[in-house]
């Protein structure tokens, strides 16, 4: 048997097949099928590497996209398997050319067009300052600046010294996770040149990718940056005359890739009553492009999480990644829940006297419908664009 050199052997040989990853895997929990577990997928990768299976194999195709890429398997792995890297290498090969999901193709091309990003920035009005040499800069994110422009404005209230230069591109995480890891690496390096010095980001997924290229000294997610710099959050968030009850949804890559999970909890607890909800460290199903590519599976993943949030009697759930924020907002709106999902920056800014958070009043059917339309509109537009691209 000859190896195909699809994978880095040092990484692929690491797995000892002990199976300790199985209980940590959200997709294994759904199917209880070894094929949908990290160990099973590594067995499939090895079969691909040795030529036992081809990339055309239905199961290989299915599992390469069914995997959330949440990396919950990494912290529990006794052998130190870097599953996230293996998944990138797998998709680099598996999703070449016509095998790449068309929707991914569109997203990647949109994300790397800086003029388009600048246009989105101009229309949606995220924060904007001149570059400040030497000081920290805020990364705007390719889609966050359009979807949640308020987040960067909130960061400016919490971190007045941070610069937000408008002229910045995409970090490349989207590419790295979707079969273009070289391009993803190059984009991260380019962003590193555009934003010299410490880069603060409000997206856990971007933070992990960017840090894998530029290092954790230069790349700091917002909560990590605030805690490292010893910043003490100001004010208090109150609801109905009491301290607001606030839960968190971890960003998988932030937690599993960078080990940042205590920091956002510490910050929340400083301004509100922090409520630990079972499963708050597990994937919400947003998982980058996942909720667009596999909306049904994404909903199956988020359902038990929404149950747990509603059972906890909270006012707000905090996200530290725009994808998770969108997934939670859409899921809560579908249920007409009174819980509001907000970004950590919004929460801290509101506590400090900035823009008030949306009120957690019982949602009317109309409000729920509006949220659904808002949440779905981007996906719908992209899907239309995809169809156009395909029909060409």
């Amino acid at each position: 048997v000859t190896d195909r050199e699809i994978f880095d052997h040092v990484l692929l040989d690491r797995c000892i097949s002990c199976g300790f990853c199985l209980p940590a895997c959200p997709t294994y929990a759904l199917t209880r099928d070894e094929a949908s577990s990290p160990r099973g997928r590594i067995t499939l990768m090895r079969a691909l590497e040795t030529g036992t299976l081809d990339a055309d194999d239905d199961r290989l195709r299915a599992e390469s996209s069914f995997c959330l890429g949440c990396r919950a398997c990494e912290p529990v792995c006794p052998a130190g398997v870097q599953y996230g890297q293996l998944l990138e290498q797998w998709r680099d090969h598996q999703w070449r050319g016509r095998r790449r999901p068309p929707l991914v193709q569109v997203l990647l091309r949109v994300a790397e067009r800086t003029p388009l990003l600048l246009l989105m920035g101009a229309v949606r009005r995220p924060a904007r300052t001149p570059p400040s040499p030497g000081g920290p800069s805020l990364m705007l994110g390719c889609f966050e600046r359009a979807l949640y422009p308020g987040v960067s404005r909130a960061v400016r209230r919490v971190l007045p010294d941070v610069a937000v230069p408008a002229d910045q591109g995409c970090c490349g995480a989207l590419h790295a996770h979707n079969g273009e890891s070289k391009r993803g690496h190059a984009l991260a390096e380019r962003l590193g040149e555009e934003l010299p010095g410490v880069i603060v980001t409000t997206a856990g997924g971007c933070a992990a990718h960017l840090a894998s290229v530029l290092g954790t000294d230069r790349v700091q997610e917002l909560s990590d940056h605030l805690v490292r710099s010893g910043a003490v959050p100001r004010g208090e968030l109150r609801v109905d005359g009491r301290r607001a009850r606030v839960a968190i949804q971890d960003s998988c890559h932030l937690r599993n890739g960078l080990g940042v999970s205590a920091q956002p909890r510490e910050l929340i607890a400083a301004v509100a009553e922090f409520v630990a909800v079972p499963g708050d460290g597990g994937c919400c199903g947003s998982a980058g492009t996942y909720s667009l590519l596999r909306p049904r599976d994404a909903r199956r993943i988020v359902a038990p999480k929404l149950d747990a949030l509603e059972a906890a009697g909270i006012d707000y759930v905090v996200a530290v990644n725009p994808g998770c924020l969108r997934q939670l907002q859409a899921g809560l709106a579908r249920r007409g829940s009174t819980i509001r999902a907000v970004h950590l920056a919004d929460l801290l800014a509101a506590a400090a006297g900035g823009k008030r958070l949306p009120r957690g009043v019982p949602a009317t059917a109309r409000a729920a419908g509006r949220a659904r339309r808002l949440g779905g509109s981007v996906a719908t537009r992209i899907r239309r664009a995809t169809n156009r691209a395909n029909s060409r």
């Binding site: 000892i16 097949s17 002990c18 199976g19 070894e34 997928r41 194999d57 239905d58 006794p78 052998a79």
Partner: protein, 460 residues
Amino acid sequence: MSLDRGVVAELEAIVGAEHVRTAPGDVEPYTRDATPVFRGVPEAVVFPRTADEVAAVLRLATRRHIPVTPRGAGSNLCAATVAEYGGIVLVLTRMDTILEISPDELLARVEAGVSTVALAAAAAAKGLLYAPDPGSRTVSTVGGNVATCAGGLRGLKYGVTRNYVLGATAVLPTGEVIRTGGRLWKDVAGYDLTRLLTGSEGTLGVLTELTVALLPMPATAGTGVAYFGGLADAGRAVSAIISDGIVPATLEFLDAKCIGAVEEYARLGLRADAGALLLFGDDGPPDVVERNLERIGERCAATGALEVTLAESIARSEALLAARRCALPALSRLGTLTVLEDATVPRPRIAEMVDRIDGIAERHDVPMATFGHAGDGNLHPTSVVDQRDEAAIGRVHKAFGDVFAAAIEMDGTITGEHGVGAAKRDFLEARLGSDQLALLRRIKAAFDPAGILNPGKLGS
């Protein structure tokens, strides 16, 4: 090779089409378990939900002479669930209902696919302890634990899985569903088939439901650590502790090589100059635990411990236990193929055995470090090499052959808790003798006349 279409259609009729997998990519993840090197490609993977479905699959398999390999979570370390002869891999993870936790009868009834940790958590929620705690408990199934008679860290005080199995529902290869034992602590009607099925590695029947004994949850637990100049001193300490009338819940050791690897990996502040580390712990009422830990500490000091520390808090206990839990991951990072064995000797001979293991490793020029359960003599000599270095893998296998021979010579055994499976089949006759092995095969034939159930495993 593939099953003929009629067989696949029958399987689909029994369990439903979505629970039968035959495509190469679908069966590939079931070609191996947690045992390195071993691989076997099944023609079908079948996921039954009930004992009746299992029975129908087995009747079909017996009629058509198709090998069947039962599988839980596939976390065993003896290749017991590798389909060496192809056929059907029968995965029981869909049978995952906890049927009953009974505080007044101190027992639980579970389907075979329930995970060990789920059973332990359900029992703990009612203030009860499911005592067996194999290293893979977060992954493994209760059915798999019973089929391999899984051990764990609490063997000395609490015994192993077999000490907790009260009853079993098993499907015979010919399709009969039998119930052995039950909710009784006393029952001598007939041969003890419950014990025969326990540790039978899926060669006699497919376990579908288990009744297991529970204990009241101990009020508290405590831990301490002692360093020694060498394993001989640690061994003397273990003997002194037990002859002092103490049966600790935890009594684990690491040799010098393990201490080095753990410290390199986890930086826990372990003493680098120590030749052996002994981790001890007990559970029960607070005053008893406190007194026992102090006495254990005194015994260690009296037998020449370099240093003894008692954990003053639960957090500190956890940190100490981490040293033991880190042993395997720390060692496994030294290479890409980790061979973890579990030769076992009578407790007083642990130090002597580790000496012999070191000699054997040197003679065969293989790296080998040893940690294990000092309380019950269950050693884990571990060898880590490069999986692409076939010469080294060959040397490791030769060395382990010598390790097993040494264990037998010292009134020990080739495997204390991992099982025989396919991995240690070649050493079984040396342990059992030819008469016992022949009897074992006659028993197998009585259960499984067509020889379809996990053929070849456990010497069958």
